[in-house]
């Protein structure tokens, strides 16, 4: 399974050779991986160093003169630390550019909360001109990037270190489109990014228990494919959202907006409600967040038994 970060480096080499407008600006992350791009285009590669807000300001200046900035560093520093720069210098000024993060959610599981980012996606969603991608495989990222990088949007690509590993037909991967990974009738499991892996495992376990669950995978968070979501939930009437995102404004909230008016629907939100203060593996932190395969199986079982609880805000 190729890593998304390697795919990023390869894509920069490929598209950088074809498009002289691409300028890569990094905050001392992936410097080694980007060696080929750096050596091929030393005048279009800048390791700006450890100053993320100014890096975003500068990227806006590059965009202002018609270049295509690719800004890359760890998610909390790229988005949460620098959000006013993104909001004003790209959003308010209606400039386009590409933000590519690593360290999705709690990927840096042994480094602690300073390197976690749960609210990056909801922050970026507030920008009227943004597109947001949470690819769970290298192929998804490649398809989304190629189609979007020179659009007039602010594109945010949240790269995970933990690809979901589920094989998805290439023709199903489209910007703005949900993917029905598995069809079912008893409930809908909606997820995005790397969380698809646990959802897939959970649905297989549920199948052995005689429960038919549908998986709607949303690697594009914005634009949100409300039609596909509504159609699935209209059929199953029960849903669970599983997301490595802040509980405050992520997949669950987008799903609720998509199903307004549908009667008799029950749902459960599985998301991040608090700082994950533990250390350990990625899977340890999934467990701490209540996002493990077992948690999903339990939530689905509870939902089907009518044990509906509100999210623990």
């Amino acid at each position: 399974m190729s890593s998304l970060r390697n795919a990023f480096a390869d894509l920069m080499v490929e598209t950088g050779a074809q498009d002289e407008k691409i300028v890569v600006v990094v905050g001392d992350i992936s410097h080694g991986l980007l060696k080929d791009f750096r050596e091929n285009h030393p005048d279009r590669y800048f390791n700006i160093g450890i100053c993320e807000p100014a890096t975003v300001n500068i990227a806006a200046g590059l965009s202002r003169v018609g270049l295509i900035p690719i800004v890359h560093t760890i998610a909390p520093f790229l988005i949460e630390r620098s959000f006013e720069q993104i909001k004003l210098d790209f959003g308010y000024q209606d400039l386009s550019g590409n933000f590519i993060s690593v360290g999705s959610s709690f990927d840096y599981s042994k480094l602690g909360c300073s390197h976690h980012s749960y609210a990056d996606v909801s922050l970026m969603a507030h920008l009227p001109n943004s597109q947001i991608f949470l690819p769970g495989s290298a192929l998804e990222f490649e398809i989304f990037f190629r189609e979007s990088y020179k659009s007039k949007h602010i594109n945010y690509f949240r790269l995970t270190e933990n690809p979901h590993g589920i094989e998805i037909p290439q023709e199903d991967i489209k910007v703005g489109k949900a993917i029905t990974v598995r069809e079912g009738i008893d409930l809908t499991v909606l997820t995005t990014g790397s969380a698809l892996r646990n959802c897939h495992e959970a649905v297989e376990i549920l199948e052995h228990e005689g429960i038919s669950a549908e998986i709607i995978y949303l690697p594009t968070f914005k634009p949100f494919d409300s039609d596909a979501v509504r159609k699935s939930i209209m059929k199953t009437k029960r849903f669970i959202t599983v997301e490595e995102l802040s509980a405050q404004d992520g997949v669950y909230n987008a799903v609720l907006r998509s199903i307004i008016g549908l009667g008799g629907v029950t749902g459960k939100q599985m998301a991040i409600f608090d700082f994950l203060r533990t250390y350990g593996s990625y899977h340890d932190l999934q467990n701490a967040a209540g996002l493990s395969t077992d948690h999903i199986v339990q939530a689905a079982t509870d939902l089907l038994q009518g044990k509906v609880e509100g999210p623990s805000y």
Binding site: L62, R64, L67, L88, Q93
Partner: protein, 266 residues
């Protein structure tokens, strides 16, 4: 310098600033008076810009990083034909394109939306870097407040600009002493110098000083960005408004307005 009686330069522009701000009830008069001579000089005899083609690819860029001085920029843009007298009339209303801070998506000739301090200058660094990448000859000018120099992004970007040897970039610091009212920045020139910039202290209200410095910025580029630390007076031109009293964001009452008009019309 320091005189604010009749004969002050650009008294016509200062009057227009007063008219706009008093009519709408919004704006920063002393900050605008502090920088209006610099901006007028830039548009009058330094910048290579064309009001009939504001997106001309060979234009010089000017960014007002201290966006709350927008009224000064607007009256100069009107003087040089980028916007109309009607635009000034409609300042601060929903009929127009002008408000308390400049909006590049609305105002012809405005290159950046500024207002939150510490954004315009690093964006100017990005523009200068982008022009360098494209091997273009355009120059970039950016006006920064001395109080704004307390923002961390100014120094983040200052370090980047000198490392990238952005000789196409000139920063003018409006050194009106605002920073001294807050958390003083001692030896401002020395700090810029330490960050690898070519520095020069100038008089921000004196046409000769502005000409000797800004008009020669291109020919004096020596592989490093330049900063002109312009000594200015906040509220320059009207004694009532000068200094760091209550006037930063205050609108004159009718009696005060009579006095202001009298001074600027003498």
């Amino acid at each position: 310098m320091g005189q604010s009686l009749s004969g002050v330069n650009n008294s016509d522009l200062r009057l227009r600033i007063i008219e706009m701000i008093c009519k709408s009830g919004e704006g920063h008069i002393p900050s605008s008076f502090s920088i209006v001579d610099i901006i007028e000089h830039l548009y009058g005899s330094v910048l290579n810009v064309n009001p009939d083609n504001v997106t001309w690819s060979n234009r010089d860029y000017f960014i007002l990083s201290k966006g709350h001085g927008a009224a000064a920029l607007f009256v100069v843009l009107e003087k040089y034909g980028f916007i109309s007298a009607l635009d000034l009339e409609n300042y601060g209303t929903n009929l127009g394109i002008l408000g308390g801070h400049p909006d590049s998506t609305k105002v012809p000739g405005v290159e950046a939306c500024t207002g939150s301090l510490g954004h315009g200058m690093p964006m100017a660094v990005g523009i200068a870097l982008g022009l360098k990448i494209q091997k273009k000859e355009n120059r970039v000018y950016c006006l920064v407040g001395d109080g704004e120099c307390q923002e961390g992004t100014i120094w983040e970007a200052a370090n980047i600009a000198s490392n990238q040897k952005l000789q196409n970039l000139s920063i003018i610091v409006d050194w009106n002493g605002s920073a001294q009212q807050l958390m003083p920045i001692e030896n401002l020139e020395g700090k810029w110098k330490a960050f690898g910039w070519k520095t020069q202290v100038i008089d921000g209200h004196d046409p000769l000083s502005l000409q000797e410095s800004l008009n020669k910025s291109a020919m004096h580029s020596t592989g490093m960005p330049q900063v002109f630390i312009a000594k200015t007076v906040k509220g320059r031109g009207v004694p009532l408004l000068e200094g760091h009293g209550p006037w930063h964001h205050k609108i004159p009452n009718p009696i005060e307005l009579v006095e202001i008009y009298k001074v600027l019309s003498e």
